[in-house]
Symmetry: C2
Subunit: 161 residues, 2 copies
DNA sequence: TTAATGAGTTCCAAAAAAGAACCTACAAAA
DNA sequence: TTTTGTAGGTTCTTTTTTGGAACTCATTAA
């Protein structure tokens, strides 16, 4: 399968990855959440090549994750800011960071602390069921074909013993 | 910055992406969570080339996300299964799927429903604060340098108005 | 007049992915 | 006994994507 066909799959993971599933996009978005808005700042902080940065920012704008807004005329200068759709990616980044804190940290511990403004504590994200509020792990969930699945092959293969 | 240097950054997101941040790895893991365990099944379901699949499975085993276990001798056949570290990636996948369900679904709605076995409802994941249990959005969190940050540059740039 | 700045674009070399064919050890079928 | 099939790869060639550096353009600052 070619990468461009990914967004046509009846799979929300595949569709999401068609937007953020490359090597650089989520790092760019991390910086967006830290307040970075300008081309040159992204470039300097990430060590990304200008060509790739141009391409990724353009794609994020096309997908409605970022929008451009002028912060100065003559010469015109634009900055990149998160849309509502982009802000919704925060849970994705937090989930990735949380896994890295737990499984990839060196002996000095997590590099960044997340403080919940409302309660004032250093927090880590917990995923709970929207219906009953209980914490979720992989074993707690069963999948079923939904409306967008249509008449396709069964969801699961037969490798499971 | 070269991709191989990514895991040395003092950033848990960068370190996590050094494991799962390429085009195919999270799709492979999605299938693992659906019960797929064999080389040939991954290949057929994903339409991935054998070369890339071999490489990704090897890396996931090296990182302790999957492990190989023989399900048959003579001829020896091995299958790939999630470790505890791998199972912990479930929240990441669920967060990505949830974003896709909300922002990338076509008019037929979500392709896959997630049923919480304990309460029996179709759920979507909700991220809450580990300390106070309140739901989290991007605006609710402030970052601070943690122990693993050491004496580096300030976390945030100055683009924020 | 020269230099600097921000946000790119252009060009070339290197690396990674796509696609197809080939390999190996065994088993079952004709 | 030769052929066919299978699981899990490896090898080869072509295409696509990155990395890295240099160049552009409009405007302001020294």
């Amino acid at each position: 399968m070619r990468w461009e066909e990914l967004d046509q799959q009846p799979c929300s993971l595949a569709r999401t990855l068609s937007v953020v599933g490359d090597r650089w996009t989520l790092l760019i978005l991390r910086d967006c959440f830290l307040g970075v808005r300008r081309f040159e700042t992204f470039e300097r902080r990430l060590g990304i090549t200008r060509h790739v940065l141009t391409d990724r920012l353009k794609k994020l704008v096309e997908h409605g994750v970022l929008y451009k807004s002028a912060y100065q005329e003559r010469p015109r200068r634009e900055e990149y800011r998160l849309t509502g759709k982009g802000l919704d990616l925060y849970t994705v980044i937090l989930a990735l960071v949380n896994w890295g804190d737990k499984h990839m940290a060196d002996d000095r511990g997590a590099p960044v602390k997340h403080i919940h403004k409302a309660c004032g504590h250093a927090m880590h994200p917990q995923m709970v069921c929207s219906e009953c509020g209980e914490p979720i792990t992989a074993r707690d969930i069963r999948v079923e074909a939904g409306d967008g699945w249509q008449d396709r092959a069964p969801l699961v293969g037969s490798d499971r013993s």
